[in-house]
């Protein structure tokens, strides 16, 4: 198993154990299971943790615990935390390039482009943190003596089924808009290309993102997606990485507790989507998908 190589060949390298990221810790799956991750050409890359339903439930618990404090941070603070992720990714750029290249079977140059976009995407969304409320909120001129305003708030826990093809840039593009408004997440990484997601978890752990805000699971989607969709303490699901054949079942299950559902845009496939197209792949609507609008009334009078 050659693994993902960094550095000089004349030294026995230290291989990484790819683990889950739950509540700020890096456990193996409680089930003890792993699965083999290969490159698109079939080279063996690593054993990834094969998360269980129990791991997923633990992740939801961690996300729930982290929600109120994270949503309660000031918007500017959340923006700085997201920007900090970009700073740390920049420092680990070579590692991400090597992993994306190996995982997605790309040249180093192409992988570099994808990683650069992923880093820049954090910066783009970081800047949104303290602007969302001004763009999407409103004061409302009601026809009576009341002060009335509407503010956006985070929905809660978002279950993110990560893009299957784009292991890092796709994941970051869906994750950052969920986080910036104060949601917490349980992420199912790409099943076939999970390694960069795990490394992203290591970056998040050493950045200022509080424990439990992002929880990353690797494993088999057929095992995990139904549990995520059905979990009643998950408030919303991003179904981007759900296989088309499974979409109906996921939505039916999510409807049981009236979850908000985000989908790939009509006519877009996971494999063909161009994540480097900034116009298409970074959008304020993707922030709005996981917001609740709260309207407040107060009388005006002496």
């Amino acid at each position: 198993m050659p693994g993902v190589r960094l550095g000089a060949p004349d030294r026995i390298d230290i291989r990484k154990t790819y683990k889950l990221y739950i509540g700020g810790a890096f456990p193996r799956s409680e089930s003890g299971r792993t699965y083999l991750v290969t490159s698109p050409k079939g080279d063996e890359l690593a054993n990834a943790s094969r998360a269980s339903r129990k791991d997923l439930r633990d992740a939801v618990r961690a996300a729930r615990k982290a929600f109120e404090p994270w949503a309660g941070r000031t918007a500017m603070n959340r923006g700085q935390v997201l920007y900090r992720v970009a700073e740390l990714m920049e420092g680990r750029r070579d590692q991400f390039v090597a992993e994306v290249a190996a995982t997605e079977g790309l040249s180093g140059r192409r992988a570099g482009t994808l990683v650069d976009h992923a880093i820049d995407r954090w910066v783009w969304y970081a800047g949104w943190a303290d602007k969302i409320a001004q763009v999407l909120g409103s004061t409302n001129p009601v026809a009576a003596p009341y002060f009335n305003f509407t503010i956006p708030e985070a929905t809660g826990i978002v279950g993110l089924v990560g893009p299957e093809s784009s292991s890092l840039l796709g994941l970051v593009s869906r994750l950052a808009p969920i986080l910036v408004s104060g949601n917490t997440t349980v992420v199912l990484a790409s099943e076939t290309r999970p390694l960069p997601a795990v490394t992203l978890g290591e970056v998040l752990a050493t950045s200022d993102v509080p424990a439990g805000v992002v929880n990353l699971l690797t494993g088999l989607k057929k095992e995990l997606v139904p549990v995520l969709a059905a979990h009643v303490d998950v408030d919303a699901v991003d179904t981007w990485g759900v296989a088309p054949d499974d979409q109906v079942a996921v939505e039916r299950s999510a409807a049981e507790s009236i979850k908000r559902i985000a989908r790939r845009p009509r006519g877009v496939t996971d494999a063909a989507f161009d994540w480097t197209d900034d116009r298409a792949a970074q959008r304020p609507e993707w922030i709005a998908a996981f917001l609740e609008m709260k309207t407040v009334w107060h009388p005006i009078g002496a």
Partner: protein
């Protein structure tokens, strides 16, 4: 909206009961011997026909299999009219009519012209407001003063508000081009039949969509009169289609493959079925579902105002309101006093003929709903809560229910957890703001909340902590077309009203 606030003048002090502290001089809730002469609103202004068809493509047609159902007056249990019962073939025909109108006429009309039609509808609703109000009260059982002062004026205001957006979409969503979604399937409830119609149709039409709307089967008449008003406005045929029938027909409508957008207001159970029914179809969906709102009264609240707000919050429209303040959370130190004041206030509420201009609480909408309320109130008693009802007389016929107040309620009681959709208030107490927050949010619902306190910083803290889409501070049950309305959690998603309500009917494209 403060319908019941209008009669505060009548709530004169009553004799102090021996059980209440003498300093209050209040609290036995005995009916005050005020005699009111009947003040019935004349129903002559309304002509209710024996039969109504479906309104499809600008024409009134019978259902394809000729079947009908009956709508009754819930205050008298008398049948009002026979209504066509749509079939799946009729649904298909209505969607086709809407599609054709969207692609051939309405969707091509400049926003400026759509606006003029909507202004015209708003004006016609104002002109015919008394007729709509009387019809609404007859068919739904709600008091005439509510349909006259709330439902109909607000419905007209919604058309007025969204009319102005029709030719200003480019300013509504800067940097984006707003396109209509296409055909909207809209299913509305029986508690505010005309108002819910307006909430659905006005933004849809403003954005260039056409609609097929199904009113609730117990309250179809105002929607059918509205269809007539559309003809009077010379609205192009097929832009607004009204089909009538039971829930299955609503389901057939929302799942129709040529529908682009689904909007539903009703129970969480049905909303869930709808979301499941259209799973994977890629339709835009907004759901406005049930609620179990907490109305939280702190010890520094202006108590007399709070009492009015509590009464308005739960007894407005017989409590058949999704955002009703059905859980009263009172700070322990003032609970006894507040409950005493509330009982006195309840004694002055007049229950009876919806068409009487003095009536505060009219008829429950249907026998089925009355049974549900009765069952839940019985469950409250069985589970150990204390029930108080004023000694008001109920009419001999019709679906009436006494305003009910439960004290000594536990969070686990059904009356504290389930949406009753009736004039039933469950009172719980708290000591600290933190306890109030925890109890208020301890529900799968999240539609609305009320906060009563004189302390501004506490209001804003509570506003932030409430997981609810509408928060009324020192007021309750206020509505306005500019004000977004909708829920958190299992109370649904999407907003109606305001700019946010408009967004639910557009597809945003890049410039």
């Amino acid at each position: 909206m403060d319908m019941m606030a209008t009669d505060t003048k009548q709530s004169a002090p009553v004799r102090a009961p021996s059980s209440a502290p003498s300093s209050w001089g209040l609290g036995d809730g005995q009916a005050i011997p005020w005699e009111y002469a009947p003040a019935p609103e004349s129903s002559e202004i309304v002509t209710i026909r024996d039969r109504y068809g479906l309104m499809v493509g600008g024409r009134e047609v019978p259902s394809s299999d000729g079947t009908t159902f009956t709508t009754v007056n819930p205050a008298t249990e008398e049948p009002l009219a026979e209504i066509a019962r749509a079939t799946e073939a009729d649904v298909d025909m209505a969607v086709k009519a809407a599609r054709q109108a969207q692609s051939k006429s309405w969707g091509r009309l400049p926003g400026r012209e759509r606006a003029k039609y909507l202004f015209r509808i708003a004006r016609l609703l104002q002109e015919r407001s008394r007729e709509f109000a009387v019809l609404e009260s007859i068919d739904s059982g709600k008091p005439i003063k509510e349909s006259r002062d709330v439902d109909v004026p607000l419905a007209a205001a919604h058309f007025w508000y969204y009319a102005g957006w029709a030719d200003k979409l480019e300013y509504a969503f800067p940097g984006r081009v707003a396109k209509p979604l296409g055909v909207a399937a809209q299913v509305i409830p029986w508690n505010f039949p005309l108002l819910m119609l307006a909430w659905k149709i006005a933004p849809a039409l403003a954005a260039g969509n056409t609609v097929v709307l199904k009113p609730a089967s117990t309250t179809p008449l105002s929607a059918l009169l509205f269809a007539e008003l559309c003809r009077e406005a010379d609205l192009p045929p097929g832009v607004v289609n009204i089909i009538t029938g039971p829930g299955e027909i609503g389901m057939a409508l929302v799942t129709h493959p040529d529908v682009d957008k689904v909007a539903f207001t009703g129970s969480t159970a049905v909303g869930r079925k709808i979301a499941q029914g259209i799973a994977g179809q890629g339709k835009a969906l907004t759901l406005e579902l049930g609620g179990k709102a907490a109305n939280i009264v702190f010890d520094d609240a202006p108590l007399d105002q709070a009492v009015e707000g509590i009464v308005n919050g739960i007894y407005f429209n017989q409590g058949e309101v999704c955002c009703a303040g059905s859980r009263l959370l009172v700070q322990e130190s003032i609970a006894e006093l507040l409950i005493a004041k509330l009982k006195d206030r309840l004694a002055t509420i007049r229950v009876g003929d919806p068409l009487d201009k003095n009536t505060d609480v009219g008829a429950i909408n249907s026998r089925a709903q009355l049974d549900k309320i009765t069952e839940l109130v019985a469950a409250g008693v069985a589970e150990g809560a204390d029930l108080y009802q004023p000694a008001c007389e109920l009419p001999e016929r019709g679906y009436f229910f006494r305003p009910s107040l439960f004290t000594n309620v536990a969070q686990s009681h059904r009356i504290a957890r389930e949406e009753i959709f009736g004039p039933v208030l469950a009172t719980l107490t708290f000591r600290t703001p933190e306890e109030a927050i925890e109890k208020a949010n301890n529900t799968p619902y999240g539609l609305s909340a009320g906060i009563w306190t004189d302390k501004g910083s506490r209001i804003l803290m509570m506003v932030r902590r409430m997981r609810a889409g509408v928060v009324w501070a020192n007021t309750f049950n206020k509505f306005d077309p500019t004000s977004p309305f909708g829920g958190y959690k299992e109370s649904g998603y999407g907003r109606e009203g305001g700019l946010h309500g408009l967004q639910a009917y557009v597809r945003l494209e890049d410039r």
